[in-house]
């Protein structure tokens, strides 16, 4: 694999991850639904839940970092710094998707031991959109994991040349 192919592949991974984070943010922010059951009004927005707010913030940070890293990756001085920051951002993305999935699971299936009823029956549009946003966030997280492994591999390529 030539250097050009390697850099192109890394760039491609970063662009797709950027697209996934932007998609996750947009879908989550535009998800809201309201339903009236008897005399209770359920209004479901993403900002009601701290986990979803953290998800949006983390995806926004990751998306902004992706843009910065895309600009910085053309300069090989920063490659090690970019690799270390990639690990931090991968950690952030994984914790945010995990938190959002935990709360979304409670919303979908409830928790009978704690007396928490599922809400997806009342606000199905909200639940569908949140599911879409979580899928996009999951794709972004997996792509970042692949990216850090790939960056480590391509940063170590000169090292491998020295081995017998």
């Amino acid at each position: 694999m030539t250097t050009k192919t390697k850099r192109f592949l890394a760039l491609l991974l970063r662009v797709i991850a950027l697209g996934a984070t932007v998609a996750a943010i947009v879908i989550m922010v535009t998800s809201h639904d309201s339903a009236t059951v008897l005399n209770l009004t359920f209004e479901a927005k993403y900002s009601n839940t701290p986990a979803f707010r953290y998800f949006v913030i983390a995806e926004a940070v990751a998306g902004g970092y992706s843009v910065l890293a895309l600009l910085l990756s053309f300069n090989s001085l920063f490659s090690r710094l970019v690799l270390m920051m990639d690990v931090v951002i991968a950690m952030l993305l994984s914790s945010s998707i995990s938190a959002a999935l935990a709360i979304a699971h409670v919303g979908k299936k409830g928790n009978s031991h704690a007396g928490w009823l599922p809400i997806c029956g009342q606000v199905p549009n909200f639940c569908d959109k949140v599911t879409g946003a979580l899928i996009a966030g999951f794709i972004a997280s997996i792509l970042y994991l692949l990216l850090i492994l790939y960056s480590l591999h391509s940063a170590l390529a000169p090292l491998f040349a020295l081995k017998p």
Binding site: L40, F42, E43, A44, N48, T49, P50, A51, Y54, R80, L83, M84, V87, V88, A90, M91, L92, S94, S95, S96, I97, S98, A99, L101, A102, I103, H105, V106, G107, N111, H113, A114, G115, W116, L117, I119, L145, I148, L149, L152, A155, L156, L159, L162, K163, P164
Partner: protein, 201 residues
């Protein structure tokens, strides 16, 4: 120390940072502390259980009691937290053993690379476990008025306390794991070339 032509592996180990005794002991100490942190987080959360008996009604003179139990298995987020921290502590233990006993084991110099890769994956896994458990604990502590989910920490306060301690230990383990990952990558990244002419002291 005199002749280094035959021992290419030893030459690399000499010039790589964190392979001199002081650097190695630093890395080993941080790994041991991280292992203790993640192991204690796993154990505290796995043994987290509280039972409360409430009197629901009184018929005549006999009270009808209802026994409620809070266990960590009731919440999938905490189950994932226990599993992720157990994996992270197992990873730490394995890496400690590799550091202590595995100096002779090497395959084309891939040992340091594999250690760095596994460290990165352990960081991502531990952070996922922490994130899920944090927000589930926040939900249990404050409830969610919009979804009509009541808080449970006022009834099961020692369950919540122990969960909080497990979470704090896990965060300490996570930050130490990040440090370890950075150190492993630094160790990989800055070797001097192996065929540098060496002087005999």
């Amino acid at each position: 120390m005199a002749l280094r032509n035959g021992g290419k592996t030893e030459g690399e180990h000499e010039s790589v940072p964190f392979s001199k005794p002081k650097g190695r002991w630093l890395l080993l100490t941080v790994r041991i502390v991280a292992f203790l942190a993640t192991a204690s987080a796993t154990i505290v959360m796995a043994l987290n259980k509280e039972t409360k008996t409430l009197v629901v009604a009184t018929i005549g003179s006999t009270p009808i009691t209802l026994t409620l139990t809070a266990k960590f298995q009731h919440t999938p987020a905490f189950v994932f937290f226990v599993i992720a921290n157990a994996n992270a502590s197992f990873h730490n233990l394995l890496m400690i053993l590799v550091e202590i006993c595995g100096n002779k084991l090497d395959y084309k110099g891939l040992r340091l690379v594999l250690v760095a890769v596994f460290d990165m994956m352990a960081v991502v896994l531990a952070s996922a476990g922490d994130g899920a458990a944090t927000f589930m604990a926040e939900l249990g502590k404050r409830g969610n008025s919009h979804a009509r989910w009541n808080k449970i920490c006022d009834k099961f306060d020692s369950y919540c306390d122990r969960g909080g301690w497990a979470l704090i230990a896990s965060y300490i383990g996570l930050s130490l794991l990040t440090l370890i990952s950075a150190l492993s990558m630094i160790r990989l990244m800055k070797p001097k070339p192996a065929n540098q002419p060496t002087t005999i002291p």
